[in-house]
């Protein structure tokens, strides 16, 4: 047994190799992406692996594989599970023969997400078991056990780590790698796999019949465990278990919840031995509601009593405050310390040389009064450039734009969407916009990669997850086949061409598509492309501020004049927009 310092997602990936897993797929999304990235980079792969085009596609792929008796892993972030909810809800009816683990990584505090939804609700909704790790070691062990458990009960298992599991690090004890030798084989069984009404009614009853034994089996597995030590009890789940462990006195009872559904009899027995119970968990009062159902007259503290927050993430200090406010003892008092209010913020920003900045600049120039629905990706940071008016979920730029255009709103509607997001769920919206004759301009920001989540390839990149060359999808052909008459591809580094393409789009009726194509500046740098950086001629600079407002992190005001720092990637955009021609190519470093 080996002990290593690993990222949570690395430990999860390693557990998959120990299991071992046969089929891996997913769609990138923070904080889940590294699991597939690590597995696809393995020097030896005795499994099939793909980055799918979206989560629904991924889960259906994984389900097909698991129906053939092999072990499958499907990863996504919490909001990806919304996209995959359709197959999820019925996959519990059909069940699986090979182990199927669906990893849906939650993001309390929305570090890198559009909401703070709680995936545990989906497990309850779909009536599948859910594992909720409290530490990296537990995450590792749970994934290994989850495949076996899935096979034992014949159901998919939802694995729900959170950001502070996925992106935390720690010493982890690992098991040995194994090779499965399994080969998929589909056994025809229409009563199981064809969910016509006559079959599905029977399957639903079967699924409900499994629930009681699942609860008991989860207690036996040991992921829900309790120690009675006093009259007060704390019940915690997920990462909150780690935070509570740090400060709970030995005289307070402690129940750790790591798996759902919780066995009510077990929970009731524990709760009934106490005078007061405090439930500490992130996001929804999921455990708390279970506790309330069995507590009878025993007071239960938590979110519903106003002691714990419904939103955001917990921390050791937050857990300390919750325990204190509920009148529970702690063995450590955290000091009160506050963020300096006058520290200038340093929000994330588009890279120097990012093609998105150039595209937004051109859009704003041509459509001064425009309305700008946008989407999910690095380019959401175009908010800082005034180029993003709405973002709701993957693929919703084109659809929201159509809705606004059909609402009677008179201004031009120009939406932006990345290549990967367009292929994820943007195409249906484009087809619908053409079909319903919306008057919108769609700018596809095509940097040939899924950049924000760590540069995963997608069908426009031209390579598979394992680096095998494949024909890249043609965004132009897709748009034309949806019925778009004006489809123009330009390099946004050439501002004049970009502006002209947008002007042309503005003058035409219906749905127009401008594909702004330039490789992501980070992938270009990694591929060895370097451009000569630019310099400001301080004699010519009038300090007008045009380049500074452009928002490039390589441009600063050095006293009275603008200066270009060593972060310059040589995209030339600032030189193109400088009204006094003060910016020119400098010395190659």
């Amino acid at each position: 047994m080996e002990r290593r310092y690993l990222l949570g997602n690395e430990a999860i990936a390693h557990a998959c190799l120990e299991s071992p897993v046969d089929f891996i797929c997913g769609y990138p999304g923070t904080p889940s992406s590294e699991v597939v990235d690590i597995l696809r980079m393995q020097p030896e792969r005795n499994f099939y692996i793909e980055w799918s085009v979206n989560e629904k596609v991924a889960l259906e792929n994984a389900l097909g594989a698991a129906w053939c008796g092999i072990r499958a892993l499907c990863t996504m972030k919490h909001v990806g599970l919304n996209v995959a909810a359709d197959p999820l809800m019925t996959s519990s009816y059909t069940g699986v023969t090979g182990g199927l683990v669906i990893m849906s990584a939650d993001d309390p505090f929305a570090h890198s997400s559009q909401n703070e939804q709680d995936s545990r609700m989906y497990a309850k909704f779909a009536k599948v078991p859910c594992f909720d790790p409290g530490s990296i070691q537990e995450a590792h062990d749970m994934v290994r056990d989850a495949f076996l458990f899935s096979e034992d009960i014949g159901l998919p298992v939802l694995f729900r780590p959170t950001t502070r599991i996925c992106h935390s690090k720690g010493d982890v004890t690992l098991g040995d790698l194994r090779v499965s030798g399994r080969t998929g084989q589909f056994n025809r069984d229409p009563a199981q796999y064809v969910v016509i009404p006559a079959h599905t009614r029977v399957l639903h009853k079967k699924l409900n019949g499994k629930q009681a034994s699942i609860k008991e089996r989860l207690v036996e597995l040991g992921y829900n465990k309790a120690e009675v030590r006093g009259r007060d009890a704390v019940i915690a789940s997920g990462i909150a278990v780690s935070y509570v462990s740090e400060i709970i006195p030995h005289s307070t009872s402690f129940a750790k919840i790591g798996a759902y559904p919780i066995d009510e009899a077990w929970l009731k027995e524990f709760v009934s031995r106490h005078e007061r119970v405090l439930v500490i968990e992130e996001l929804s009062p999921f455990v708390e509601e279970e506790v309330l159902q069995v507590a009878g007259t025993i007071p239960v503290f938590g979110k519903k009593s106003g002691n714990a927050p419904y939103e955001g993430e917990l921390s050791p200090a937050a857990v300390g405050r919750i325990m204190k406010s509920a009148g529970f003892a702690t063995n450590y008092d955290f000091p009160v310390a506050n963020y300096p209010p006058d520290a200038p913020p340093r929000p994330p920003i588009l890279c120097a040389g990012c093609m998105h900045r150039a595209a937004f600049y051109a859009i704003k120039k041509v459509f001064r009064e425009g309305i700008f629905p946008s989407d999910i990706g690095c380019y959401t940071l175009g908010l800082q450039l005034g180029g993003v008016d709405t973002t709701i979920c993957m693929g919703a730029s084109i659809t929201v734009a159509s809705g606004i255009a059909h609402s009677g709103e008179k201004r031009d509607v120009v939406c932006t969407i990345g290549d990967s997001t367009f292929l994820h769920t943007g195409i249906q919206g484009l087809m619908n916009a053409v079909y319903s004759n919306a008057a919108i301009t769609v700018v596809i920001l095509d940097n040939r990669i899924t950049a924000m989540t760590g540069h995963q390839p997608n069908p426009s990149t031209g390579i598979t997850a394992c680096g095998v060359p494949v024909p890249p999808v043609s965004l132009e052909a897709i748009c034309r086949s949806c019925g778009v008459l004006y489809v123009e591809t330009v390099d946004p580094y050439n501002l004049t061409l970009m502006v002209n393409a947008l002007k042309e789009a503005k003058a035409r009726p219906g749905v127009k598509v401008v594909i702004a194509r330039h490789p992501c500046v980070i992938s270009a740098r990694r591929a060895g492309i370097s451009r000569r950086p630019y310099d400001v001629d301080s004699e010519k600079c009038t300090a007008c501020g045009t380049c500074v407002r452009f928002g490039c992190p390589a441009i600063e005001m050095g006293g009275e004049k603008a200066v270009i720092t060593d972060g310059c990637s040589g995209c030339s955009l600032c030189a193109q927009i400088c009204p006094s021609g003060a910016i020119t190519p400098g010395v190659r470093k």
């Binding site: 310092y5 904080p31 935390s168 690090k169 010493d171 200038p344 913020p345 340093r346 994330p348 920003i349």
Partner: protein, 194 residues
């Protein structure tokens, strides 16, 4: 009573805070000590403010509570100021003397923070200011600034110098090993005069 020695490494996305935290974690493995940590990934990394928590001998969660960090290692002086509230009374801040002004400050025309002003705001702390850029240049590569900072901090962190050096050797790309080892040593010397 806190059992772990808690280190906060802060900087700007892209400055190498994750490698720095990996070096500390790996050194703990070399010394067979438990360790926990947390870091920033995803969108927040794109040139934004980033933080890595490392808890040497940590057995519980990965997060350090504000007001309890034993040491802050800052790759940028403004970030040292931003996260200074994490420091425990009597704790130490090791900071790079460089201050990168956030682009949003220029874009929004906010007052531009100066080195002197930020140094003044940090004067209440036990402070060790390192010229990481100069020392990295001396080591042969500007990319070794994070290792210079680790070298300086190694004077105060309860890990053996040999473990940290071994950890650096394991984690940096082989081609850059010589420069990184030199950077660590130069940082260590600079840290000794704090």
């Amino acid at each position: 009573m806190k059992e772990s020695y808690d280190i906060l490494v802060v900087g700007i996305g892209g400055q190498g805070t994750i490698l720095a935290s990996n070096i500390l974690g790996e050194a703990c493995m070399i010394e067979n000590r438990p360790v926990k940590g947390a870091e920033t990934h995803g969108m927040a990394q794109r040139g934004g403010s980033v933080e890595s928590h490392i808890r040497i001998d940590g057995r519980f969660g990965p997060l350090i509570a504000p007001g309890t960090a034993d040491i802050i290692i800052a790759f940028d002086m403004l970030e040292a100021f931003r996260y200074s509230y994490y420091l425990r009374p009597g704790g130490k801040i090791i900071t790079n003397r460089r201050l990168v002004v956030p682009t949003s400050v220029f874009m929004q025309g906010l007052p531009v923070p100066t080195d002197r002003e930020i140094l003044g705001r940090l004067s209440g702390y036990e402070l060790c200011v390192i010229d990481a850029e100069g020392l990295a240049k001396e080591a042969g590569s500007l990319l070794t600034q994070n290792i210079v900072m680790m070298g300086a901090a190694s004077q105060f962190i309860p890990l053996k110098t040999e473990s940290l050096v071994q950890s650096v050797s394991r984690l940096v790309p082989p081609k850059t090993l010589e420069a990184n080892l030199k950077a660590f040593e130069l940082g260590r010397v600079a840290g000794s005069s704090c």
